[in-house]
């Protein structure tokens, strides 16, 4: 054996070592390969006979080298590779030359040529030393690019920097971090945190003009969005107490109920919002709890007539709430007036459940276990008629039902419409959740190394296009949605400020953005979890809780599949009226789309693959707008045709359900990009505008890519353009990846809140 190992010191043979190693290590030499090598060596007259003899011995197929011989050979090759410049380590031939440094200059030139020729003959000319474990690896730096983090943060913070600063200060308390606790202990902690939050004065913003001097609800909404960077049980607990329970009193009650709000804002009066029932979640109009008016005592009698009417999923009901806003079918003198809200005490101040009330616990949930969701049954519980939240309807001293809105359906939708702020909050919380998950996954992707190029050590995960694809487009969308919610809050405030707010258009916008943002959050957290591998599966790294806690965002405050259909109906009929009407107006409204489409389907444009064109906002808005118009128009036409043919409206809706949802989604996609573009126009700093513009472009093109099949079918883009869009998305990911750290830092998540160790890990230990 040692005879063969002589060669490692023979300067004439050393250039061939890498090739011999690779040839054997790859599973033994075939007879043909052996012949090739022998013939080649015979053509090298300059080889000394002794060297030729050793080489021959290495080429005996019946005597392959042993594992130890090959291992020794590898040691030699590795040692040589370690002394080479990185760029030279990429070739077996170069590695051979490195081994030949001791040989005479003439031999060196000849052996180099011979080795290269042999490599080609054996088909290993492209084989790399590192791929064979022959060269050590070096850390390759990922080219990070600085961005104006403070500038971006100021823009993201928008008009409420002060509010955000206060909430961030609150969030930065280290005690606001818990996971894996038993339910009781976690609930107790969250209860305490909510008290701290209210003590910090943040709860007061929920009732502008009553408990706070803030002008409108936008401060509370911004606070809620910011709070969603932290523990989501606390967020939901705050949302229930202040937004739902307090909000129902604020929006549905009258002067006589306002006095309660001080206690609500300070948590002296913990309450709950008892709307959903086991049998009816989304379909609120068909709730079955009854509030029957008894004129003799001037009381309302609250009853749960059957099991499907029990109140279910009610946050706060299982343990904390003392007062409940109960939604029930109001009956006055035997006449039903539809769903109304009544304040019903359910516990006394010491927490004992009151007579006639039965309480259950929903038990363990996927997430949000710091929130005490419960069930409620009412066995003829009597409350004074004054407990009716009577802004829109009341029962007068004669026992007569009175309402400023005579129509039951209009009254119902008006009441519900006042509560639309909750959906704005949940949607924007989804954006914050995506921010948190992305901040963790991006920071990890820039530190964690795995695999790498030949001749170089392992590279950071962010180097990989698939990894960029996972994180960068969602990052862009998160930015776009962030600005869209700023606009949505402004729209909300604007509509609420009207003397007689017509909330119907707003409701569709809110529903659409809630759907978009919460599904975006669900997908993004999942991507981030997987992008962090096993680390993303550990509770300490927060992604499991972000996933489990936010998953229900798609379900509560309006189930996303139901909401998107509301958007569809609203879009289709212009103003959310019943489908039988108003179609003419819609058809007129969208009537111009064909003309536009014809203009945009100019053969030059559908094939324009220039980067300038693909990156122009004009294209993005036109394309998203075109899709929305065509889908809405065709949905309207198909609906009208079915109704005209005598089809039942429900059956027609079922048949067109997917078409309608596509139309609604397209409509919202266009709206969101339009709002983002509007916001961009107000950005003065050119560098910041450029960064945001690139993010918006990636968001828009990723959206086009996602729906490109539709555009291809429609003829709006040609195949060559579809391919160009895909390439442009890839290029944008590459462009933005080096700025990713700054882009997530601009979210302004306090480090204590970010919490996940992998977001702070020393790269050396990863």
């Amino acid at each position: 054996m040692n005879e063969r190992l002589e060669l490692v010191d023979d300067p004439q043979i050393r250039p061939f070592l890498p090739l011999l190693y690779v040839a054997w290590s790859d599973g033994g030499l075939s007879a043909a390969e052996r012949l090739v090598i022998r013939q080649h060596l015979e053509r090298q007259p300059w080889l000394r006979p002794a060297a030729r003899l050793v080489l021959d011995r290495w080429l005996e197929p019946e005597h392959p080298p042993s594992a130890t011989e090959l291992a020794r050979l590898r040691e030699v090759l590795r040692a040589a590779a370690g002394t080479m410049a990185v760029d030279k380590r990429r070739s077996l031939v170069e590695l051979g030359q490195e081994l030949a440094t001791a040989s005479e200059p003439d031999d060196r030139g000849r052996s180099r040529v011979a080795a290269r020729e042999l490599a080609v003959l054996l088909g290993v000319d492209q084989t790399e030393p590192a791929a064979e474990g022959l060269s050590p690896r070096e850390v390759m730096a990922f080219p990070e690019v600085a961005v104006d983090v403070e500038g971006l943060r100021a823009l993201l913070d928008g008009g409420h920097a002060e509010v955000r600063a206060r909430v961030r200060e609150f969030l930065a308390r280290p005690e606001l971090r818990a996971y894996g606790l038993p339910t009781e202990r976690y609930r107790e902690l969250v209860r305490g945190w909510l008290r701290d939050l209210c003590d910090a004065g943040i709860g007061r913003w929920a009732f502008p003009g009553v408990t706070s001097e803030v002008a409108d609800l936008s401060s509370f909404m911004v606070a809620f969005e910011t709070l969603a960077l932290g523990d989501l049980s606390l967020l939901v607990k705050a949302g229930v107490q202040l937004g739902l329970f307090g909000g129902s009193i604020f929006f549905l009650g009258s002067e006589r109920h306002r006095a309660l709000l001080e206690d609500v804002a300070t948590l002296r009066l913990p309450g709950c919002f008892a709307m959903s029932e086991s049998g009816h979640g989304s379909n609120v109009a068909d709730l079955e709890t009854v509030a029957r008016y008894d004129h003799d005592t001037r009381e309302l009698v609250i009853s749960t007539p059957r099991e499907s009417a029990r109140k279910d999923w009610i946050g706060g009901a299982a343990h904390d709430a003392q007062l409940a806003t109960v939604f029930a079918q109001l009956e006055v003198a035997g006449v039903g007036h539809g769903v109304h809200a009544v304040l019903v005490p359910i516990r006394d101040a010491t927490g004992n459940v009151l007579p006639g009330v039965r309480v259950g616990d929903c038990g363990l949930k996927m997430g949000l276990n710091g929130v005490d969701n419960g069930r409620l049954w009412f066995d003829g519980v009597r409350v004074p008629v004054e407990n009716l939240l009577n802004r829109f309807a009341d029962i007068d001293e004669n026992g007569q039902y009175q309402s400023s809105i005579a129509s039951p359906s209009r009254r119902f939708f008006t009441m519900l419409g006042t509560l639309v702020g909750g959906r704005v909050c949940v949607g924007s919380a989804g954006v914050s959740v995506a921010k948190g998950a992305l901040a963790i996954a991006v920071r990890y992707a820039l530190a964690r190394r795995q695999f790498g190029p030949a001749g170089g050590r392992e590279v950071v995960l962010m180097t990989y296009p698939t990894h960029q694809r996972r994180l960068i487009p969602p990052l862009a969308t998160t930015y776009v949605l962030s600005f869209a919610f700023e606009r949505l809050r402004a729209r909300y405030v604007e509509v609420q400020a009207q003397p007689e707010p017509d909330t119907r258009a707003l409701e569709a916008e809110v529903a659409g953005l809630k759907v978009l943002a919460t599904w975006h959050a669900t997908r993004t957290v999942q991507q981030c979890r997987e992008a962090c591998g096993g680390q993303g599966y550990l509770a300490v790294n927060r992604l499991p809780d972000l996933k489990a806690d936010s998953d229900v965002f798609a379900t509560f405050e309006g189930d996303n599949t139901v909401l998107i259909q509301l958007v569809a109906k609203s879009v289709l009929s212009g103003f959310g009226r019943s489908l039988g009407r108003g179609l003419g107006a819609v058809l007129k409204l969208v009537g111009d789309s064909l003309k536009t489409a014809v203009r945009e389907k100019n053969p030059l444009i559908v094939r324009d693959t220039s980067s300038a064109h693909l990156r122009s906002r004009e294209l993005h808005l036109a394309a998203l707008g075109h899709r929305a118009r065509v889908l809405v128009q065709s949905a309207a036409q198909r609906m009208q045709r079915r109704l005209h043919d005598g089809m039942d409206a429900h059956d027609a809706l079922l048949e067109l359900q997917e078409h309608m949802i596509a139309a609604a989604t397209a409509h919202i996609d266009h709206l969101v990009l339009q709002w983002f573009s509007d916001a961009l126009a107000d950005v003065a700093d050119p560098a910041l505008r450029q960064t945001l513009d690139t993010l918006g472009t990636l968001h828009a093109l990723a959206k086009l890519e996602e729906t490109v099949a539709w555009y291809l079918e429609d003829g709006y883009v040609e195949p060559v353009k579809a391919r160009a869009i895909r390439k442009e998305v890839e290029a944008l990911c590459r462009e933005l990846a080096p700025a990713a750290r700054g882009l997530v830092d601009a979210f302004g998540i306090p480090e204590v809140t970010l919490a996940a160790p992998i977001a702070f890990a020393d790269p050396a230990t990863l």
Copy 2:
């Protein structure tokens, strides 16, 4: 007020009541509408003056009806609607006629005409009573269709009905159900369950020919798949003990280690599989733990040289394991021989950690908290050289390293290749998880009612096309994958039975199916969770645990993003060799694709939208095959061009990463469908074959729909055909939805295992 209410009894006026109600309830009458009504009434000479007077009073815009008057009116209308046939409740005019039954026959005819005309004039002719809350709702039956559940189950069970029956019997123990427990308690339970499983003799199947008479590993694999219908912590715990720990001894050890297997199979010797390290999970070749051979004592010295080399995520390490299979870089006489496996005792029989070993706990995880994942550090732990699992390499009495496989890289891949069975198991477990989630969600969707048609009561969720879309295509894919894994197990057994198994092709198939199945599971569980709304968020309904427990399937036993790239490389180079070689063969292999493509791109075929064509397996296989061939060929060409231009292979791979992944996915998609089709050919019963054929068709068309943008770009389908594919998918969902209950029942999940209350709920309470 009561004057106005007179009209409710006037037979001449009653036909108009629904129209009046709707006109007012929709927000008040405009002047124009009032004019329309008045003019219309003037054209009805047959109306008595008294009736005309009352109607006039209802049309005074300055005196709109009160809420109570409208409510009273609604009561009258509802009462009338309640007595009507359901099909007549769909029109306001019919409702009016129902109210007119007391009037004279002549009046009835005239008023019917007049009311209909008025409805058209007011634009409410399509408005439905139910939409206005005027008609009660009736339960609409969803047309369920029976399927041959037992026949399907027999086919799904395949060749191991007996094995499955034994595991089902085991699973049916009511005590095997836990959630929400503290970690310690849960681990303790799972430990006990694993003992029960081993006591039931199921563990013995893991070592065919040693602890059991079973012919090969397929019995154990089928048992594992079936076990995945139940608690997934138990599954993983069993997989670690029997598949990974036991499997490493069985496959990497020699005769001298076989005696251990009896104790492994019976859990007398709990062990763990210590491969992954904090710094290297996917990149196993670069593990840093060292096993240095000391010839003086004939011992191996195991060390953790730095923090990134600690063993991490090791199931069983935190508490239970006594013996560990440790993967480490073997050093003999100063020469490194790459990664080898060594048995290292880490605890004594009473559970005390042994000297030189340090143990940590990974802590709370997203799921699988019944598994005690831990970390291990070794401080120069000495074990006899006999502890080396020496099937492929050993150290002889002279201290010489010996291996039957001289090449270090081939040896490494051979060792890892023997462990490929674990990936088969995890992939098929993903299919079982999807089965469990679908069974729960489908049963709920067939019981839970929400919303509904005008004039009918609420309908079951499965009625909705969006709901079918969520559940039915994944159901079809689950069937297809189920058969594919049956074939994959057969392939595995076939390859292992070879005297010198060449596992490379198998490894790519296994990796591809593992990726496909585990991502399918992740997506399907998420869809099912959302499809069950709030109920899906409750732990008691199992979906949260199914989600959390199975989410890591995409990460462990090979991270999916890494595995799919292995498939890509394998597909590209034909046999998994390094990329620099063998491209010529690939190009030759796929060289015919252009010819095929030209034939298939016949203008008649690319536009063929007939259902018969779209449902033909010939089309599906041709289309999936075409995509695979074209993507593989173009990836190979692009790779060759880059290498030819001198680009570094790693850089070239990065540039083509997404293309390569698309190629690999397409290749696996085609393979899976081919395998399913092969399996179908063996089904004798025509009805069963038909059912399975329809499922396969939906799976294939849904796959085409998902990737239709590619086919449009490629010109393989024209837009008209893309639309037809979408419609066909919708039609197939409609066709299969009524059979959904039977299709999930055929999975044969014991009711105790299904467990979720919503899967058994009385529809009346939902």
